[in-house]
Structures are given as C-alpha cells and as structure tokens.
C-alpha cells in the first residue's frame, strides 16, 4: 500500500498490517496501533504523536519519523540496535493522553 501523506489520525488501527507499506509523511497522530505490524515500512517524516503503539512491531525505519512525542510503545518490538537510538531522540518524551504512560518508560529507556 502506498500511503504518502495519508491521514490516519485518531483511527482504530488495532492489529493492522502495514508490512512494506509506503508511509512517508503519513499522519498517525492519536491513532491506536496496538498490535499493528509496521515492519519494513518507509516512515520518513511520519507523525506518531500521541500514538498508542502497545505491542506493535517496528523496523529501523521508525528512526525516520518526524515525531514520537507522547507515544506509548509498551511491549513494542524494535530492532536491537534501534532502541538505544530511539531513546536518544529529543522528541521521545511526554505522556500518552490515552493510556497515561510515559513515552520513555514505555521504551524502557535508562
């Protein structure tokens, strides 16, 4: 699927499969991505602000997103080398407005 600049804001995307999807500049702000699969996607400048991504699956392309502020990544799966880099991002902060979970805590950042 090609979803360049597509708006998924505040949508229910539980368990959705985005494998190899083209999600450049896609807007997932406030979307529910619980259990979603986003492996091998292109996520350049995608917005993940306020996203609930509990148990979601990501690849290294999450580093290309524009923001992950207030996102909840509890139990989400990342490549081993990606997680430390994600913790270093300045926008990996805040608290998810839906779940009340701190973004850095959900990433288990030190």
């Amino acid at each position: 699927m090609i979803a360049k600049s597509t708006n998924f804001g505040k949508s229910n995307l539980k368990g959705c499969r985005f494998y190899k999807a083209y999600l450049v500049r896609a807007d997932f702000s406030g979307a529910d991505l619980r259990g979603a699969s986003l492996e091998d996607t292109s996520m350049d400048e995608a917005l993940l602000k306020d996203t609930v991504a509990v148990g979601a699956y990501f690849s290294a392309s999450i580093m290309d997103t524009l923001t992950v502020e207030n996102a909840d990544f509890t139990d989400a799966q990342f490549p081993i080398k990606t997680l430390p880099l994600l913790c270093e991002r300045s926008d990996a902060t805040g608290t998810n407005p839906v779940t009340g979970v701190d973004t850095r805590e959900s990433l288990m950042c030190p």
């Binding site: 090609i2 708006n7 998924f8 949508s11 959705c16």
Partner: protein, 138 residues
C-alpha cells in the same frame, strides 16, 4: 470510501460475475447435449454411433453426466472460498496517498504492499478448483 478501492472492487466483481456467467453458459451447453427434451428424436450429435445407427455407448453417457454435474457444481455451489478471514485485504497493494482515513475504524485491516492482486487471483483459482467441488462433481 476511497475511489480507487471502489474501482478495484468493481473490476474484481465484474471479473467474478463474468466467470460465473461463462460457467453457466458452459453448463447449459453440456446439459443440452446430454439430455434431449424429445427422446424419440434422432440424436443431433455427429459421431460414429450416429452414422452406424448404433446406440450411444454407456461410457459416453457417463462422461456427459459427470461433465454436467461438474459444471453445475461450479455454478451452483457458493463461492465461500472467496471470503477472507480476518480484516480483509481491502487496502493491500493500493495507493491511498493524500486521502483522509482519520477517525475511522480499520481494525485488523491489511495495508500491506504488493500482494492484493496475487491473493485475489489465488482466491478465484481456489473458488474454481476447490477439492470439495471436484468431489461433488465426481
């Protein structure tokens, strides 16, 4: 709903309907060849039995009967194999760039890239050549 999705679903639906219409036509032709409404009339088929004035071999009748049943099974039986369990493949492999999917419920949907047409093609093949229908026909 996005217009490309509607267009692709329409094309798939038309393709499926055309397949079933073709099968219906074939089954009708086979049925007409197998059974005559006027048994006393002379057989219209041109074969060795007709020219020699002999009766039609039982093997031929059996073959025609099985062919008719097979064609009817293809047409009449429900195409349950076309159904896709789970969320469906509504958005797989299509271009929805710039469209608005906000505030919607797309739970379990498939937004993967590059396999929609392959899956749809396999589903049609499965519907036509499913083992259940072949067993019913035989």
């Amino acid at each position: 709903m996005p217009s490309p999705l509607h267009q692709q679903n329409l094309v798939l639906t038309k393709f499926t309907m055309n397949c079933f219409q073709a099968l219906l036509f074939l089954s009708t032709v086979v049925a007409l060849n197998s059974f005559s409404l006027a048994p006393s009339a002379k057989a219209k088929t041109i074969n060795a039995a007709t020219h020699l004035g002999t009766s039609i071999p039982s093997d031929t009748i059996r073959f025609e009967l099985v062919s008719t049943l097979f064609a009817l099974a293809l047409v009449v039986s429900p195409a349950t194999s076309l159904a896709v369990s789970g969320g469906g493949l509504d958005f797989a492999g299509i271009d929805i760039s710039g469209q608005d999917f906000s505030n919607g419920n797309y739970k379990g949907k498939d937004f993967t890239q590059g396999k929609k047409f392959l899956v749809a093609f396999l589903a049609v093949l499965q519907a036509i050549f499913s083992p259940t229908k072949i067993i019913v026909a035989i």
